[in-house]
Amino acid sequence: MELDNLDILKNIKRIEVPDALYHTIECRFEKNRENNIPILKVGIAASFVIGLMLAQFYFLGFSSEINQFNNEIELVEVNNNSLYYE
């Protein structure tokens, strides 16, 4: 086949798109949109959880400092000269 015959490709007829196709596309697009998880909402929820966790760590650390201080008070040795079972 001669390569000049590539010009016969211009004889290919253009085809009209079936009318019902737009409706199918619209339905698929709407369905996609419903299934999409909104990134903004997920981001807000995630930062809220992270904030809660950070607050928890902070307050846990704070309360453990207080506990440690209390323990230190309890461990102070009392030196007196009284004997046991006296």
């Binding site: 390569l3 016969i8 490709l9």
Partner: protein, 167 residues
């Protein structure tokens, strides 16, 4: 611009371009659906100063090539599972030909040529389709494919050489 307007303006371009790639009406309809769903999805992020037609061409070409890759992979695995002979294996990788634009012409040589084009590497196939079927200029093809005009010309020459080998 509403979605309906975009669809009405570009539906024939998308459908016919997809048809040149997959050479099957049903597949072309499926690709057209995928392309418009993608266009509507990404419409908010589309830079309005960019050329809409070029953007739609790119999406359609990529979607068609992805579709062909997926379909051939599916066919290949099916054929390998049947352990068929080599010759029938290659035949089966050709499309289920149902191109209304060619069948209307009733030109057997056109059908054969299209089936040969189907077997070209993807870039060569794209250049032939855009230059010879869509009737775009070399500059337009270069812009769509993000190549230089020289690269498009060289791809076209290579495509002709490949076709000579196949023909």
């Amino acid at each position: 611009m509403t979605y309906k307007n975009i669809y009405n303006q570009y539906k024939n371009l998308v459908f016919n371009l997809a048809l040149q790639y997959c050479q099957n009406r049903q597949d072309a309809e499926e690709i057209t659906q995928d392309v418009f769903v993608k266009i509507f999805d990404k419409w908010q992020t589309f830079r309005k100063d960019a050329d809409l037609k070029t953007w739609i061409y790119r999406i359609t070409i990529n979607q068609s090539l992805d579709f062909l890759k997926y379909k051939q992979r599916k066919k290949r695995s099916f054929i390998i599972s049947l352990l068929s002979s080599d010759s029938s294996y290659k035949e089966n990788l050709l499309p289920d030909f149902d191109h209304p634009g060619i069948l209307m012409e009733q030109d057997e040589s056109l059908k054969i040529l299209m089936q040969k084009i189907y077997r070209l590497p993807k870039n060569q196939k794209t250049v032939i389709i855009l230059l010879k079927i869509e009737g775009l200029t070399q500059r337009e093809v270069a812009e769509i494919m993000k190549l230089s005009e020289g690269a498009v010309e060289s791809l076209f020459q290579r495509a002709k050489t490949s076709l000579k080998k196949i023909l």
